[in-house]
Amino acid sequence: MTLSALILIPFVGGLLCWQGERLGAGIPRWIALICMSLVLAIGINFWLAGNYSGATAAAGLNWQAEEQYSWIPILGVSIHFALDGLSLVMILLTGLLGVIAVGCSWKEISTNVGAFHMNLLWSLAGVIGVFLALDMMLFFFFWELMLIPVYFLISLWGRASENKQLRVQAATKFFIYTQVGGLIMLVGILALVLVNYKATQQLSFDYEALLSAHKHMSAELQFALMLCFFVGFAVKLPIVPVHSWLPDAHAEAPTAGSVDLAGILLKTAGYGMLRFTLPFFPDASQEFANAAMLLGVFGIFYGAFLAFVQTDIKRLIAYTSISHMGFVLIGIYSGNLLTLQGLAIQMLAHGLCAGGLFVLAGQLHERLGTYDMRKMGGLWANYSYLPALLMFFAAALLGIPGTANFVGEFLILVGAFKVVPVLTSVATASLVLAGVYSLILIHRTLFGKSATEGKGVDLSARELTLVVSLAVVLLVIGFYPQPLLNVSVDAMTFIQHTYAPVDVSNPLLTGPLPVGGSASPVVTP
């Protein structure tokens, strides 16, 4: 029941928000806040109660909670939810960012507050569904469903520019990109199910039933189906040739929508690759690993270069997301425990960091009325808290030690170095570029001649709480990531075992490394 509750709370809460608006504009905000806090609380409860680094770590799936209901038996589809360490990390992130998203739109949204929060909560319900679903049809339902509320968020409550068509165009672009990617994935899902059906005579969309389906197909088919899944997720991640919806969507979205998009929605793609693509198609994924990692490296540099030349602060952050997702791709396809564990941290850290930056960008917009960095400058003199926090998040973005971003990137790079040393070295060089775009962000906004006269209105207690709490979480994970690593270890071990890692290309580095290597980096108490 608890797992269904995780989805039902935001869903029902959304309906209440919609109708609650009749009682007053403040009601939906409180309902939404309570709902997301509840989700976060349930997530924390799972964390405290569960055992995510148990003895079963060898190769089994370690579900901490599982629920199954009959839905469409004629197609072999059931409502099947389950939670393991990986889902839990994602749900904690969703809960936290959900609270932040509600908080940051407290003042920003003033029209149709109820409907806004309904869409926000429903998109979060969809995302939680994606993280919990273990039936491919159910997964696909949630995967598509979360798009519709986000589409409305962008097109109805997006940036108030003179040309309203712009935000509708951005939302439509987002929808069409992800929908086409989704349909390609649907082909992959159906083919996988039918192959499994022909081999076992059992029509089932269930995750565990499909895990062995790859044994029944030819290498070419496996590769083709893997590509179907990959394309579906690549659009959402996004990976460079199919990324162009992201900057537009971010630029036009309201702050909560951006937090939602960058912090959570992009992570569903990384989650999907880990949970589905690698275990379903281990051989094909290995074959594809080098190409995927090349795409990742290309994306890292492409995103970084484009981030550098942006004048719109939200577009800048959007391009840095593309750059960071390149790391995620490398981490996924290197496929050893170090990179996979690093991934969990990296996805979490990026969600928090990008979320924080978007919240700050929104707060700047509320004060200055613009996202254009050319019209900013000299903010350091005008505000007391805001510049310091912006500086902190920019530093986290470039991966300064002490923040969670550093832990994530470090683990990914160390792990990947054993597998693809040359590519990893190239990717590491991009950290210089990360420094460049973070500094240009700070330089353009905080320093130089002040564009506005006099002291501005500083952050209110609400705004300060939002941003500082994100910063604190980033720091805590940065200094003491072990509890989080303990949560994801079983799930990641399973993924690593199904996806035997890419052959180590440099024989000098095959032996266990002092930092971990073949031994688990996690010391379980």
Binding site: I74, E144, F175, V180, L190, A191, L194
Partner: protein, 480 residues
């Protein structure tokens, strides 16, 4: 042959409709009264729906032939159900639409009843004669219905256009039948399928191709689609609903039967032709719908694309037809299309010169009438095939059918078509929420509340069939 009452029992739904038609005609002759005519029609549809229960094939799912002309099986009754349901919805829409119309209002129900009866004959036909009679019985009243409000803009033009082009298609079909008969000497579907490849000559093949062309015309598949947007635009919105649902369902049903019953080689040949036609339809329908500001025209082009999708399960497997996928998709298509035309119809009246069919009429609809606007959102999502709606379930079956046959090319067409289609569905959907309204345009017509209720019901049905499709899918899978 010994005719007893039991011989004609499977015909019960058609008989009920025919009796209703006669009764209605008499009622009109005695005294013109709009409400009475309407309720007689509704009663006729309801009785006909009820009477399906008493037919033999429905209870034990055995195919029952009636003389040599008709064959009633589970599929025929499924299509009958679908058409009677659509007929009922059309009747309600027509009533609200035509309420304020100045001249005669009653005969339109007569035409509706005859058209649906024709459809019922068509879906059960297993012989070229009944096929032709059914098709004409379906088409001829529709010419009248399209041009019924003849003094309104474009109605007469649309009616005449449909009449002439339809007649040309019928001529094609008759000539094709004659050619087939010249070679094989029989007109029953089974007889043709048995002899067509045994006898020598090219006449029958040529004839079948001509019949196929006529059917494609009725289904408005590219390149035989040119009449569709004009006729949809000119026809009153409730008649548009009828054109887009009943006549499509009936013709498709007979095509499915033709493909199932004829020999594998012929089916194979037709399938290879249909592949070209369906890809063309998907491309043409979606691309031309992109720029339409007129919602009826947009729906017309989108129906061309939908027919293209619907043909995928017909052609994927060589020599056989995935009837289940066709039926699921048809169900989704009928419910959704009725909703879409219902929404236009709810905002229009026969008393006005034009229907509220421009995208400008829909701007800000959600704020003026949240129920209609909200229902419209689900209808558009269903047309686009987004999960939670029945449109997705239909599309899902088409995908499954194509994946099962490994028709990757068709899948590519389907995906690209759906992607392009999203653009215009979303465009209409988001305009429902527009804050700024075009002055003067939005006030057209009074929104008919009972039609709104009907559209909302369709939206509920769309979501229900989308979220919990199990009963419907089970029913369709059980058809024989």
């Amino acid at each position: 042959m010994n005719f007893t009452f039991a011989t004609f029992l499977p015909l019960l739904p058609v008989i009920v409709l025919s009796i209703t038609t006669v009764l209605l005609m008499l009622a009109i002759a005695i005294k013109r009264h709009h409400a009475t005519s309407f309720w007689i029609t509704v009663a006729g549809f309801l009785l006909s729906l009820l009477s399906i229960q008493f037919t033999p094939a429905f209870s034990d799912s055995a195919a029952t032939p009636v003389t040599g002309l008709l064959l009633f099986d589970g599929h025929a009754y499924f299509y009958t159900l679908l058409m009677l349901f659509a007929g009922l919805v059309c009747a309600f829409l027509l009533r609200n639409f035509i309420q304020e119309y100045a001249s005669n209002r009653e005969e339109v129900y007569l035409l509706l009843l005859i058209a649906v009866a024709g459809g019922l004959v068509l879906v059960a036909s297993s012989h070229m004669a009944s096929f032709f009679i059914g098709l004409e019985l379906l088409s001829v009243p529709v010419y009248g219905m399209v041009a019924y409000t003849y003094e309104r803009n474009r109605a007469l033009e649309a009616g005449v256009k449909y009449l002439i082009l339809s007649a040309a298609a019928s001529a094609f079909m008759l000539f094709g039948m004659a050619l087939v008969y010249a070679q094989v000497g029989t007109l029953s579907f089974v007889g043709i399928s048995k002899t067509i490849f045994v006898t020598d000559g090219y006449l029958a093949g040529f004839g079948m191709a001509m019949i196929a062309i006529a059917l494609c015309f009725k289904l408005s598949l590219a390149p035989f689609h040119l009449w569709t947007p004009d006729v949809y635009q000119g026809a009153p919105a409730p008649v548009g609903a009828l054109l887009a649902t009943i006549s499509k369902v009936a013709v498709l049903a007979v095509l499915v039967r033709l493909l199932v019953q004829t020999s594998v080689e012929l089916t194979h040949f037709l399938q290879s032709v249909f592949i070209v036609i369906l890809v063309l339809s998907i491309v043409v329908g979606n691309l031309l719908a992109l720029t339409q500001d007129n919602v009826k025209r947009m729906l017309a082009y989108s129906s061309i694309a939908h027919m293209g999708y619907l043909f995928i399960p017909l052609v994927t497997v060589n020599g056989t037809v995935d009837v289940q996928a066709v039926n699921v998709y048809l169900l989704a298509y009928v419910v959704t299309t009725l909703g879409a035309f219902g929404a236009i119809s709810a905002m229009s009246s026969a008393a006005a010169g034009d229907d509220s069919e421009n995208i400008a009429n829909f701007r800000g609809l959600f704020w003026r009438n949240p129920y209609l606007g909200g229902a419209m959102v689900f209808i558009m999502l269903s047309l686009a095939g987004i999960p939670l709606t029945t449109g997705f379930i239909g599309k899902f079956y088409v995908f499954m059918s194509a994946v099962n046959a490994s028709s990757w090319g068709l899948l590519a067409a389907l995906i690209i078509g759906s992607g392009v289609g999203l653009y215009y569905y979303l465009r209409l959907m988001i305009s429902l929420f527009a804050r700024e309204q075009t002055p003067g345009v939005n006030e057209v017509g009074v929104i008919s509340q009972s039609s709104v209720l009907l559209v909302v019901l369709m939206a509920v049905l769309i979501v229900w069939l989308g979220v919990y499709p199990q009963p419907a899918l089970e029913f369709i899978a059980g058809l024989k």
